[in-house]
């Protein structure tokens, strides 16, 4: 198991270096001033020259690439022009907000999706099932950002139940992690975006769970479980759902990449100070080092969550041999 994880981590690092290479080439080959990706075009000439040398931007592409990679493995993503701080620090500030929102939404979506999907399959043919399927199709077809806008209009503006944007009421400053995240004000801010993101994530586990349940329920071991005189609930959750879960985890791993996209949109709509909103702003402000850095970190996040999903899968399915 350990060997497997180590191997996967190594593959992940190679992949990340490839992603970094790709993004390096993308910025270097872009039309216009390629140095803009490393050095703020608006600073004075001498300073600019010094920086160009610092990053080797007057050198060949190959040298530049070596410098870029050398810095990267030391986690040096350069400086953000806009914040005038290292990219790593900006990312460090933004990452917790993104993670909390995303994990809350996923927890919500996967818990409900799996339970509801299993229930729908168990009661197939019922009215509630077709209502459920139709609803999840509608939510899958609705753009997240639009659902977010509508939710703000309804729940924040019209009903006034939840704040419409941000992570905390303006004026509030917290220092420690606990002060920032573990208070009622924060939770009040979290509910609406997490709910909207959760709705977006929900359709995938729900529909896959339902289909996979339908498949599993015709398996012989389900009949055997019933022949053993187990209670319906036991058969449903312990046998059918437990096995139907496997494709949900597989699909979940593939879905994570798309989920990050949804996360970006939600963060923008709710002005949630996370990585997703930051990358949009960085690109808009031509703050390329920051955009580059966030892109690489988000890729790492996707890969890491993929790895977690794979480990989870191996954990859930004893037939998987670690290789």
């Amino acid at each position: 198991m350990l060997a497997y994880i180590v191997k996967r981590l190594l593959i992940m690092i190679v992949m990340l270096l490839l992603v970094a290479t790709m993004i390096f080439l993308m910025f270097r080959t872009m039309p216009g001033d390629p140095t803009a990706s490393m050095v703020d075009p608006s600073i004075p000439r001498e300073a600019r020259q010094a920086l160009l040398e610092r990053y080797g931007l007057h050198e060949s592409l190959w040298t530049q690439y070596r410098i870029f990679m050398r810095d990267l493995v030391q986690l040096d993503f350069g400086n953000s022009y806009f914040y005038n701080r290292t990219v790593l620090r900006v990312i460090g500030d933004r990452l917790p907000a993104t993670l909390i929102l995303m994990l809350t939404a996923m927890l919500f979506a996967y818990t409900f999706g799996i339970l509801w999907g299993a229930w729908m399959a168990w009661n197939r043919g019922s009215r509630l099932e077709s209502v459920g399927v139709t609803f999840s199709l509608i939510f899958r077809s609705a753009p997240t950002f639009w659902v977010g806008l509508m939710a703000i209009m309804l729940f924040s503006v019209t009903l006034g139940w939840f704040p419409a944007q941000g992570m905390r009421t303006t004026g509030y400053v917290g220092d420690s992690f606990a002060e920032v995240f573990l208070n009622r004000d924060f939770v009040r801010h979290l509910i609406l975006p997490a709910f909207v993101a959760g709705l977006y994530f929900l359709a995938t586990p729900l529909l896959i769970m339902r289909n996979s349940m339908l498949e599993v329920m015709s398996e012989d071991y389900i009949e055997m479980a019933r022949a053993k005189g187990l209670r319906d609930r036991s058969v449903l959750y312990k046998h059918a759902a437990r096995n139907a879960l496997l494709p949900v985890v597989t699909a979940g791993a593939l879905f994570i990449g798309a989920a990050i996209g949804g996360q970006v949109l939600i963060e923008v709509v709710f002005s949630w100070p996370g990585l997703g909103r930051e990358i949009v702003q960085a690109v808009t402000r031509s703050d390329y080092p920051l955009a580059q850095g966030i892109f690489i970190i988000i890729s790492a996040l996707v890969m890491f969550m993929n790895l977690v999903a794979d480990i989870l899968y191996a954990f859930l399915d004893p037939r998987i041999a670690y290789r």
Partner: protein
């Protein structure tokens, strides 16, 4: 102990209603082992599932009673049935290969069945698992194996162990050895017989292979097209079957004891379409001795000897039938007849 009376079962399908089991009656004494034989599709599994009320959603018992210790199981509440399953009537299902859940250990699955019906605690349950594993000849350490780590024969034995675990009154074994190779099959059959004698539970043993029944069962039921064709003590049956279908079946399977190696003759034709309402005997289409009477009127199950019943109009001519049935040409004639009937329509 178990009395099945006039049981009929129907499946509702897209194309109409299919009468899979029609007016089947039999009973089973304590400690007795009963074999149900017939070609695939004749309704054996359907009967087995109906006893446990485990029919698929589109299947329903349309008539008859299943009396278990005098109580009619048809119409009992789902919870009542749940308590009877496994603890009183245990199933060894047709596809043992896939009857174990791949994500739990075998031991877990047996224990689960025990704990669903008694509150003896995990330790006692585990001890019981070890015990039944011993009975079927599996090592204790196999309890912590996952199904994919076991061979087909081991899985089958684990399933049998599971069925034994609560000492049920009846074990219903639906083609328990069909998926296994012949050598393993023979070994498991012997094991089943030994255990059944040892703990004196009753057993319903379902198979399409008539020679297996001669090995294990005291009584035999031959089914065809959802109906009972013949019902008898094994000894009496194998000495002298009465129904032409039984005669045909005997030709089609080599007996395990008799290895003289006579050539096998299978019964020409295919089982009847159960969608259509059929007048007359179900077997008449493939029967070498069918007459117009067979085509128009359904023969009742009549007593031909003590403990021996057959559903045929011509049980009195059985001696003649037996001689003719041994002749390959008799069955070839049926084949020609069927082919002739089919061609003009196409």
């Amino acid at each position: 102990m178990l009395e099945v009376q006039n049981l009929s079962i129907e499946y509702t399908t897209e194309d109409g209603v299919l009468k899979a089991v029609d007016d089947v009656s039999f009973n089973l004494q304590r400690g007795e082992s009963l074999g149900i034989v017939g070609e695939s599709g004749c309704g054996k599994t359907t009967v087995a599932k109906a006893l446990l009320r485990l029919l698929p959603e589109n299947g329903a018992i349309s008539g008859g009673r299943v009396l278990f210790h005098g109580e009619n199981l048809v119409g009992k509440s789902p919870d009542h049935m749940r308590r009877i399953r496994h603890s009183k009537i245990a199933l060894v299902s047709q596809s043992a290969m896939n009857s174990l859940n791949p994500v739990y250990t075998v031991g877990h699955q047996i224990r689960e069945g025990i704990l669903a019906h008694s509150n003896i605690g995990r330790h006692a349950a585990h001890a019981r698992c070890v015990e039944v594993f011993g009975m079927v000849g599996l090592e204790e350490k196999r309890l912590s194996s996952y199904p994919h780590q076991l061979s087909g024969g081991m899985k089958q034995r684990a399933i049998i162990a599971m069925a034994l675990s609560l000492e049920p009154d009846i074990i219903v074994a639906d083609e328990p050895t069909t998926a296994l190779d012949v050598v393993v099959q023979g070994r498991i059959l012997q094991r089943i017989r030994a255990i059944q004698r040892q703990i004196s539970t009753s057993m319903i043993f379902i198979t399409h292979d008539i020679s297996v029944v001669s090995e294990i069962c005291e009584r035999i039921i031959v089914m065809y097209g959802g109906k009972i064709m013949e019902q008898a003590d094994s000894a009496s049956f194998f000495r002298a079957p009465y129904h032409p279908y039984s005669l045909g079946l005997q030709n089609a399977f080599p007996s395990i004891t008799d290895i003289t190696g006579e050539e096998l003759v299978s019964i020409p034709g295919t089982p009847p379409n159960l969608m259509q309402e059929q007048p007359g005997c179900r077997f008449q289409e493939r029967c070498p001795f069918a007459t117009s009477q067979c085509r128009s009127r359904t023969p009742p199950l009549v007593k031909v000897k003590s403990n021996h019943h057959a559903a045929c109009w011509y049980t009195d001519q059985v001696n003649d039938f037996r001689t003719r049935a041994r002749n390959r040409d008799t069955w070839e004639a049926v084949r020609t007849r069927i082919e002739q009937q089919e061609t003009p329509q196409q």
